[in-house]
Symmetry: C2
């Protein structure tokens, strides 16, 4: 990591995203007020460009292999307030305000992270945090 | 996403991590008090197991292809306070307290996300947020 290129990428002011072999960087999406993590998604160059142009989060949907304007179906558009990039420029921190129902997760909850890990001698399992759905996915996605 | 297996993965209490083809899930590491994103890393099954067993964050280093006990060299061990998992179980939210210098980034800063994107008609560039290094990497890594 000591070469000039790495130093420019880590300390410089040039945006030099390090896209992976599928052309993607990872985006951590957080609530701009509470900083609560909402979801994890991926952006290709086009998704990042559209996000910067429109102020609304766009991702690359790996499951559907297409550009994804988050909230286009559900109304839960993510208005971008700030984007940060990490040291080696392969991850983004996207601070957003959620429109619509105020839910970023397709299950209807505000955040995708609605379960915590608990572990003891019998192993690890999940425990709900109690985050309740803010909309019924059936009303939004199955029409 | 409507099959029984997906429903169990999304709404159940069983830990069923969806490791990618390289055997990894993505981990968003955040400060347990402020929720500020600190870094993004990856865990394989062994790293997750070690993390749960020891209470200290372990990752899989993709650049070095080895298990990585974060902070073993720098002293900046990450004490885990809570782990959450997302809806489709391919991402973790790891809340930590940083030991040592209180810095999670190898550049010496608390967070890896020390630059924001700014964009205008001439394009996008990066701007420092002003986060200062808490240690000099040369003192820690080049010995």
């Amino acid at each position: 990591m000591g070469d000039t290129n790495a130093n420019e990428r880590e300390e410089g002011t040039a945006l030099l995203p390090r896209f992976d072999k599928e052309g993607l960087v990872t985006a951590i999406v957080v609530d701009s007020t509470s900083l609560e993590p909402l979801m994890l998604a991926h952006m290709n160059a086009e998704a990042l460009e559209r996000t910067l142009q429109t102020g609304e989060a766009h991702f690359w949907s790996r499951s559907r292999s297409k550009l994804w304007h988050k909230g286009a179906t559900s109304g839960n558009v993510l208005k971008v307030e700030e984007i940060r990039i990490d040291c080696d420029q392969d991850a983004l921190w996207v601070s957003v305000a959620i429109e619509g129902h105020g839910a970023a997760c397709h299950t209807g909850r505000k955040s995708c992270f609605y379960r915590r890990l608990v572990s003891d001698e019998s192993g690890a399992r999940l425990e709900p945090t109690g985050d309740a759905p803010l909309f019924d996915p059936k009303d939004v996605y199955d029409k």
